[in-house]
Amino acid sequence: MSQEKPGWFESLAVRGKLGAVFGVQLAVLSLGTAAVLAALTQMREARRWTDHTHNVIEQIEAMRGEAVEQQAGLRGYIITSDRRFLEPYRYGVVEFENISQRLGVLVRDNPAQYERYSRVLALMGEWQTDVAARDIAYTENPATHHLAVEATIGGGGQRRIDAIKRLCEEMIREERRLLVSRSGTMERVESLLLSLIVGLMLAGWFTGAYAVALVNRVLGTPLSRLADLVPRLITGESVDVPYLERRDEVGTLARAFERLRDSSAEQRRADWVREQAARVLGALQHCDSDATFSDTLINRLCGVLEGGYGLAYRWNEQSAVLEWCAGFGLPDASVTRRRFRLGEGMIGQSMVERRIIEMMPVPAGYLQIVSGLGAAAPASVLFAPLTARGETVGVVEIGMLKPMTTAQRELLEQVIVTSALAWHSVSRSVRTSELLEESRGMTDELQSQQESLRAQGEELRSANEALRGRGEQLEEQGRRLRASEEELRAQAEELLITNSALEEKTGALRMRQDELEAARIDLERKASDLEQASHYKSEFLANMSHELRTPLNSMLILSKMLADNSDGNLDAEQVESARIMHDSGRSLLSLINDILDLSKVEAGKMGVALETVNVSTSLNALLQRFRPLAGERGLKFTVRIEPDATRELETDGARLAQILSNLLSNAFKFTHEGEIELLAEKAQLGAVPAVALSVRDTGIGIPAGKLDRVFQAFEQADSSTSRRYGGTGLGLSIVSGMTTLLGGQVKVRSEEGKGSTFTIVLPERSPQSQTATTTAGPPGVDTGAAPSLIAEPEPGEPPTGTPALLIVEDDRAFAKVLADIATRRGLDVVTAHTGRDALALARKRKLFGVLLDIGLPDISGWEVLERLKANPFTAGVPVHVVSGGDDSDRGKELGAVGFLRKPVDREAVVQALERVGAGNAPRRRRLLLVDHDPASRADIVALLSAENASIVEAGSAADGLAHLQAENFDGLIVDPDLADMPNFEFLAQASDRATLPPVVIYSRRELTPDESLRLREYTGSIVIHGARSPERLIDEVHLFLHAIERPGKPPAAPEPRTPGADLTGKTVLVVDDDMRNVFALSKTLRMRGLNVVMAQDGHKALAQLEARSDIDIVLMDIMMPGMDGYETIRRIRSAAQWQRLPIIAVTAKAMKGDREKCIEAGANDYCAKPIDIDQLVSLLRVWA
């Protein structure tokens, strides 16, 4: 069966096909039947003819018989003449007649027979008439009878009968011949018929079989094949439908099937597309940001399309580019192009064309789709624009492993439209919420700013109002002034008259005045001489005792060594002598110490360091100290603190201890039996809350007459006591001096023989100003304090520092203007806004001139001027008055060098500066510049030429050291990289040899953190060469030239204390990146006898711990770059050997949580920044 080329038959419709098959069969059958019928007809004809022939023969024989019969009958009659014999004749004639008639009909159709028949008849007739009729006639007449018998014997009639017989014979023969031919025909027809029937049967069978086969082939098989397809079609398999090309019903059916298949495939594809699209979109619906959206989109798309990799690009409206925003299945780095313009590349192109572009085949060298196992080039690459409502939101690129199927394409088409819409709305909503958030934030900030503006406006408004107020006041004053001016003029006129009278008197007065003035000056000079002398005395004493101590020190050590006799080569006497030597030396030393203290107190050189002192702690310390002595002496020694006494004092703890131990030593010295009590109780010092600390003894007491002299230097109740009891007799003077220094008073109560009570009353809070008032006034004896002789605080220490210009001006803005003018001229400026500040400053800071405002908030400028003039240290300083009023005369009277009336202009200020001696203000400073490069030295010298300094240059480290050794310098500028002493050796050596002046490092290269750490030991001023370094170098130099307190400088080192015995020799690791802290800390800690190891960060700290085993405690800064404090502590703790290493966290953070975090990290304790040294020391004591 040919599917390819349907035969004509196969193209026929089934009805036609059936018609054809059965028609042919029918035709064959009817043809056969017709032939059989024809043969049958022929056979009947043939049979009829044979019957006919048989009939003819029968008749002929009958006729012949009849003829014979007639003859026989006749003969019988003739012979017998019996009439009876005539009867057969008669019958024969009739019979003959009948038979011949019948025969005549039968042979009429055969002319030859009929001719014979006719002759028979004729012969018969002749016989009958000629023969039969005469003989009958002859016989009847017996006469004639003989004639009839003769005729009969002679055979007259016989010839005729014979002819008839012959003829009949002939006829029968003829008929027989006919019969033979006729049965031959019949036989032929019969066999024909037989073969016809057989043929017909065969034909029927064959055509039938053929028809069945044909129908089966053309209809049955296709139908069953199609039928077989039905279930597969139903299951939706994609099947090949045969017979499509056929034009018959099978074809139609097949086509219908095909259509069915196609439509069901179509349906399923549509279903698939719809389902996948819905899935992708469903996933996209959950995306609420551009990022997740694009990510999900490309992932899902690659999923459903079976893409090997994918990229999504987002159209950026603003920059008009497509920006890469998500990828699928690609290594990060493989995205080479992140942005495309419109129409650029396939990506841009697909955006322009707004249709999906499929690139196939993919050019070689294109990105490969990689998996863990291998890589393959994509079969095709798709570029699909995400277009919705005519707007393109982005483009996706997908590398396909297989070419895209229609369904996939359809899906892609559908998805890109819907997802474009979705993306559009997602980014719009993201954008809106972002904008919303942003605008919310912005509104907040705006509001805050507005508020701050409002606040500033408010400030401005109030400032304006204040100004306006002041203006009105001024106006009012002016008005009043004008009024009083009138008045004054009138008075002046009146005065003019009285004046002349007065003038005379004035002359006299002036003379007196001059005399007085001379006397006053004389007195003043004497007073100041005295002052100087006493100052010199104290100074001398201070110096002397210092000078004495040094040799004494060695003497003490040596004598002690002798007395210990460790070599055993001295005899007892010698040892005793050595001991006496040592003891005397000790007494001498304590005397010198006392003298030193006293002279310090008197010379006002004793500093006071205020701190919070716990009363009971300090008293108990004393109890501990003196208890052994009490035991030795058999005395009862108690400390009592009244409950109402304050617990804490703000005072100088060291001094307090010194005072009390002096009093206690005294008490022990003069008491032989009984008890000594140290008592603290609440007291009052004027209106100020105070504490009274008393030392009560049951000793020898002081006679009433000597009571008021005990506090004077070198006094003891009895000069003999000195010998008996030892001691310098300076103790009480020192006590009194120090107590005054601390703002307190000393009292004594005593009864000879009964004992004494010394009481010091200290304010709970020592007034700060007291530090300046250092002269020990006469101590208040019970009889009451002597009145202070000098109302003005004594000038005390001479002011220090480089001479500066003091600007006293309460209007800050104007003060700044003045200061700016002055600083621009290179002057050192200090500013005070109140009179008191001004005076305080003048006491501390050396001045070369003063610009003084008169209208000050506290005390008037005039008073300031007077006081400045009254102080010997400031009397010589030129003062220039700047005032709103006009009292230049008063100014001159008080000694001002000039008067400037406000408002002032720049020129006037400059002139005023000139007048206060700005021109020759500070002295020239000396700088040492150590740098091996002459050119760079020249640069620096040029740079600093504007500074008021002379620069000594040294071209090498050795040179520099020589200079340092030989001369004094105010500052040092050093290049750290000196050829002859690399590695900062110069600084190390220089600082070893002498105290270094302030140092500025000027480095031509960058420094490593380690290097700068090391340099920080010498200075905080490090300048790295660069475009702006000259400026900074000048700044730094300027800074120390003018001795401005530097923020980078460690805080003033506290006075060395008796180091806690428990801390000396301990090693502390300070971990901090803050240089200031590290150096300040290490300095104070070293002073307390600790060894300090530094580390700049956590890693270094760990390295230090690793490297050395002698670290007793760690101080850990929390906020460090890199590894912070918490982390460092945790790491330290994680090592077994450091589990118990004490760590104190140092933190700038004050919040609860932060501190807890320190402890959690493993710190033992914490200490807040800025560090309180005492707190730190206590912590160290606790933990170290």
């Binding site: 508020e451 702006r1028 932060d1154």
Partner: protein
């Protein structure tokens, strides 16, 4: 009782709870601004009343983080106020170059935009390796974001614009990668940055700084608090170090004014006592 009175009481209680329970002290903040922030917080977490906030603050452990996150206004931009960054780049960086080590404190770093901006400027000036940036904020939430350094893509354009106007020498995109619709700043910019929580209200000085950048933070503070913060800055700065404030902020009303010199009228960049200290 007026609602506003009630509000004030509630806000006061809330403030105290924050202080007592978590140690955050907002007493010194500008009251109106603080009130607004609290009400905004209330709206954001959908609390019916401020008291409800107080309750959650007291009992819910993690809540304080959200609260602080909401109370702070972490609005910022990279290279915000380009003229300031231009001044930093052109006038300040060359001076910073003269110190062997450059410590920079960025106080109130919000989401870190300025930190990265500074880092970029330092990198482009070749100073980064010598620098340490301490980026602090009192909001942990903000700090976490700052450490990520991820910003919305659509901002990038404005940032780039700012960057160029601030005198950037390359392209801002050299410093970030764009992914999805975010930009992520280069990891290497974070190398020398320390992010730490630090509250300007209560915490102290932690190091010696050459440059302090604290912009748009003081505007939220009352006068005393401003004074405190400025004191911290002054005490942290080395002699000749720089203080950069927001454009709306100024030292003019502060007692600290004398310790500083203003670099120019246009930007609020000050230099610590370079010529003279006038008050002692």
């Amino acid at each position: 009782m007026h609602t506003s009175d009630r509000h004030d009481i509630e806000i006061d209680l809330f403030r105290r709870a924050l202080m007592l329970r978590h140690g955050y002290d907002f007493t010194g903040y500008a009251p109106a601004s603080f009130k607004r922030r609290v009400l905004a917080l209330q709206a954001a977490v959908q609390a019916p009343t401020v008291s409800r906030l107080t309750e959650r603050l007291l009992h819910e452990d993690g809540f304080v983080r959200t609260v602080i996150g909401r109370l702070s206004v972490p609005v910022s931009e990279m290279f915000r106020d380009p003229s300031v960054f231009r001044a930093l780049r052109e006038d300040v960086m060359p001076v910073l170059a003269t110190w062997p080590q450059i410590n920079i404190w960025q106080a109130g770093c919000a989401h870190g935009e300025e930190v990265y901006s500074l880092a970029i400027v330092l990198r482009e000036c070749g100073l980064y390796e010598r620098a340490h940036i301490f980026a602090t904020d009192f909001s942990e939430e903000a700090l976490a974001r700052a450490e990520e350094g991820i910003y919305p893509l659509h901002e990038a354009r404005a940032y780039s614009d700012n960057y160029l106007r601030a005198g950037g020498t390359g392209s801002l995109s050299d410093w970030y990668v764009a992914r999805y619709n975010r930009i992520k700043l280069d990891e290497s910019l974070r190398k020398r940055v320390t992010f730490a929580r630090h509250n300007l209200v209560s915490d102290g000085v932690f190091g010696e700084m050459q440059l302090i950048v604290c912009r748009n933070v003081l505007i939220y503070f009352g006068d005393d608090l401003q004074e405190r913060a400025l004191g911290l800055f002054r005490d942290s700065l080395v002699h000749g170090g720089f203080l950069c404030l927001g454009n709306r902020e100024s030292l003019a009303y502060s007692a600290m004014a004398d310790d500083f010199e203003r670099l120019s009228e246009e930007t609020a960049i000050y230099r610590r006592g370079i010529r003279a200290r006038r008050t002692i």
